[in-house]
């Protein structure tokens, strides 16, 4: 796989993975604002799933 295809394929999955991991840890280690950030970060993969699954 060339570098450009690698980037194209993995950019979004990697981003979603980092967001999920961030959300999991932010809620575990922090409180208050961190909770909010965790919810938003972890909702993004779900929103993308819903968008791509149901778009016409």
């Amino acid at each position: 796989m060339t570098t450009s295809t690698f980037k194209k394929v993995w950019r979004i999955p990697l981003l979603l993975g980092i967001l999920t991991l961030f959300g999991l840890l932010a809620a575990l280690l922090g409180t208050g604002t961190w909770y909010g950030l965790a919810w938003v970060a972890m909702a993004i993969p779900l929103v993308l799933i819903i968008y791509h699954t149901f778009k016409k």
Binding site: M1, T5, F6, K8, V9, W10, R11, I12, P13, L16, G17, T20, L21, G23, L24, A27, L28, L29, G30, T31, Y35, A38, W39, M42, A43, P45, L46, L48, I49, Y51, H52, T53
Partner: protein
């Protein structure tokens, strides 16, 4: 074609690791769904009416609760006491024997502020099993304790292998496709293949974390067993041979609790294990304490207090593998970031169900596809 060969090998791993664990994973996803909201369900089903007292009302003396309990069951032993930090209750657990699985074991529920007996619960054998208990047991051990825990742990390992191999396969599959491509018009098989890939890769990290922490949780019995046989045993060797105190000879449990609290500033006591209970010490009260902060409340520190003299023996340092287990719990349950996190957990769980079912579907139609293909070749050859 080395690349093709390696893809085929990963595909083999993905197919078989998934197929073996799928039925169990499906059960785990379905039973796990209500368990995410276990606290809320329990609260809704809770029938205890507590007296309305101010929030900072002083706590009653635990010695007096134990006295009431022992007066009711003079032939039994007090095994451990649970001190709730959520509801104002103290639960004194008793049993006819020290056997952890004794069907006669039971609990007496006290109001932690008034010390009044609220509920003298029937024994485990006579207690009506709630649907939530059955679901939890199915999820943890398929209703068969340790063998079930180890078996589900093994299924968890297969699940983790299937996720990793799935991530590896995602790369070559998506080479010519944009993220999120779902080809709906061509065929049902293609549509579900695309959905399987999209849903799988978007939830991959969550699946991995919940899978790995699930395996860790299934290992809790052997891990605590190792600790008991190594660290705890070493700690207790110097007491070997000293007579074991009967319950009449024990020092005040409230005093032991206070001593433990003084030794661990900033911690809350959650339970007191009596001398003699197999998951503790024959000579000491073992007081489990936990931190007060969001994260530290997940980390427990046991304190040993001499059962006869009531003196502090030691604040035990937990080994790394038990710390890892403690951190694994919230990351598996999803109950640590408020209601929105629980809802997110449930949604991820639902997506996981779709990934599992679509995986099986793809395997079935793929086989049909191949058999039809072979039949066609055969028919052509016969002509």
């Amino acid at each position: 074609m080395a690349a093709l060969k390696s893809i085929k090998r990963w595909f083999w791993w993905h197919r078989w690791s998934s197929l073996i664990c799928t039925v169990f994973l499906l059960m785990l996803c379905l039973t796990g769904l209500p368990l995410i909201f276990a606290d809320e369900i329990q609260q809704a089903m809770n029938t205890t009416r507590y007296e309305d007292l101010p929030k900072d009302a002083p706590k009653a003396n635990i010695d007096l609760m134990v006295k009431q309990a022992r007066a009711r069951y003079p032939k039994e032993v007090v095994t451990f006491i649970f001190i709730d930090d959520d509801e104002p209750q103290v639960r004194v657990n008793m049993s006819p024997s020290w056997k952890p699985t004794d069907p006669g074991r039971h609990a007496l529920q006290f109001d932690s502020r008034t010390g009044k007996l609220l509920n003298d619960e029937p024994s485990v054998a006579k207690k009506k099993l709630l649907w939530t208990d059955i679901i939890f047991s199915l999820h943890r051990d398929l209703l068969v304790d340790l063998p079930g825990e180890l078996f589900l742990g093994l299924m968890g390992v297969l699940f983790v292998i299937s996720i990793i191999s799935g991530i590896v396969l995602y790369g070559p599959f998506m080479k010519k496709l944009d993220f999120g491509t779902v080809r709906k018009e061509r065929s049902r098989r293609l549509k579900w293949l695309d959905l399987h890939n999209l849903l799988g890769i978007a939830t991959a990290v969550w699946l991995l974390v919940v899978g790995l922490t699930g395996v860790m949780n299934e290992l809790s019995t052997p891990l605590f067993g190792i600790w008991q046989m190594t660290d705890v045993k070493t700690m207790l060797t110097k007491y070997k041979g000293t007579p074991i105190a009967s319950q009449d000879e024990l020092s005040s449990v409230q005093a032991a609790y206070n001593t433990a609290m003084k030794a661990t500033p900033g911690m809350t006591g959650t339970s007191i294990v009596y001398p003699g209970w197999p998951f503790g010490s024959p000579y000491h009260y073992l007081i489990w304490t936990k931190g007060n902060q969001a994260f530290s409340s997940r980390l427990f520190t046991p304190v040993l207090v001499n059962g006869r003299s009531g003196e502090l023996t030691t604040v035990v340092k937990m080994p790394v593998y038990l710390r890892a287990l403690e951190v694994s719990r919230p990351l598996h349950f999803g109950d640590y970031g408020g209601m929105p996190l629980k809802v997110i957990w449930a949604l991820f769980d639902l997506v996981a169900i779709v990934v599992l079912v679509s995986g099986v579907y793809l395997w079935i139609v793929r086989r049909k596809f191949y058999t039809e293909y072979f039949k066609q070749i055969e028919a052509e050859a016969a002509l």
